[in-house]
Symmetry: C2
Subunit: 140 residues, 2 copies
DNA sequence: CGCGAAATGTAGCCTCGGCTATAAATTTGG
DNA sequence: CCAAATTTATAGCCGAGGCTACATTTCGCG
């Protein structure tokens, strides 16, 4: 029998958990963006921006509501709760840092934006802190 | 109607595609590692290292076989095809670069290993090239 | 105002990647 | 060499997150 390496398993588990959080984070961020732009987030716009069919967005919003991140009434826009807004701000901030770090090490801006969309969900708080410290050092 | 931003959609699509590739890449890399260690990859060891139940590993291996990345006979070990080995090497190399870059910007080694497991699947070839260039610059 | 267009909701289906439980084959040790 | 332990396979379930098709509600405009 192979001696089970807990560190390695932990890495895969974390990656899987991050994958399941990614959708939530994307939707919350997008709802926040749309609210800032138009005053409310509509299902159709959410679906369009995320590149999915509307029923998919409807289901996702239902999940956000279950998790206490958003509220909505039938045939009306979607709004974030305080908890949802807080998460949105966290996600947005992390996104900015990841993009900035990628650019700082020489990744072209558009590529950085594209890759950050996937990478950001896997950046732990400790790695994020290291990124921020690096950017601060480099700026000074 | 919101003006659809193609760049943003592309980012989300890429992230979703990367998520579906991630499992394949993890399994292929792990099979390669086990083959190097023990001469063959057994379903039980694969499952243990990835932290899943064995039927889950069996299903995943079936998929790899469908995709021409691995071969196996009932009750025998799993082996990579040439295509599978090539993918494994690519994945392994990318993993090393990602870990090295994280370390280079100040992420502690153990954290880098954990986060890399999730991040690596979202690093495009252009970003990878930028990482390599940065590491080379820094080393010189 | 009322009607057609647009937006939202609902139903139902698919695939994937987990799981448990159970069966079959293989390996191992006495 | 046979029985027990281990390993692998299979069946069947679940939830997530896609989709299409169709029903319903709201909105905008003539």
């Amino acid at each position: 029998m192979t001696e089970t390496d807990p560190t390695q398993i932990k890495g895969f588990d974390r990656a899987r958990q991050a994958a399941s959080r990614a959708l939530t984070e994307d939707y919350v961020e997008m709802i926040s963006d749309l609210a800032a732009e138009f005053g409310e987030a509509r299902i159709t716009d959410l679906a369009a921006r995320l590149g999915v069919a509307h029923p998919t967005a409807t289901k996702a919003v239902a999940r956000l509501k279950r998790e206490g991140l958003a509220i909505s009434r039938p045939y009306r826009g979607v709004f974030l709760t305080e908890k949802g807004e807080a998460l949105a701000e966290t996600v947005r901030a992390r996104h900015r840092v990841v993009v900035a770090l990628l650019c700082a090490v020489g990744v072209p801006k558009e590529v950085a934006e594209l890759d950050a969309e996937g990478i950001e969900h896997h950046v732990s708080s400790r790695t994020l802190a290291a990124f921020e410290a690096y950017l601060t050092r480099k700026t000074d």
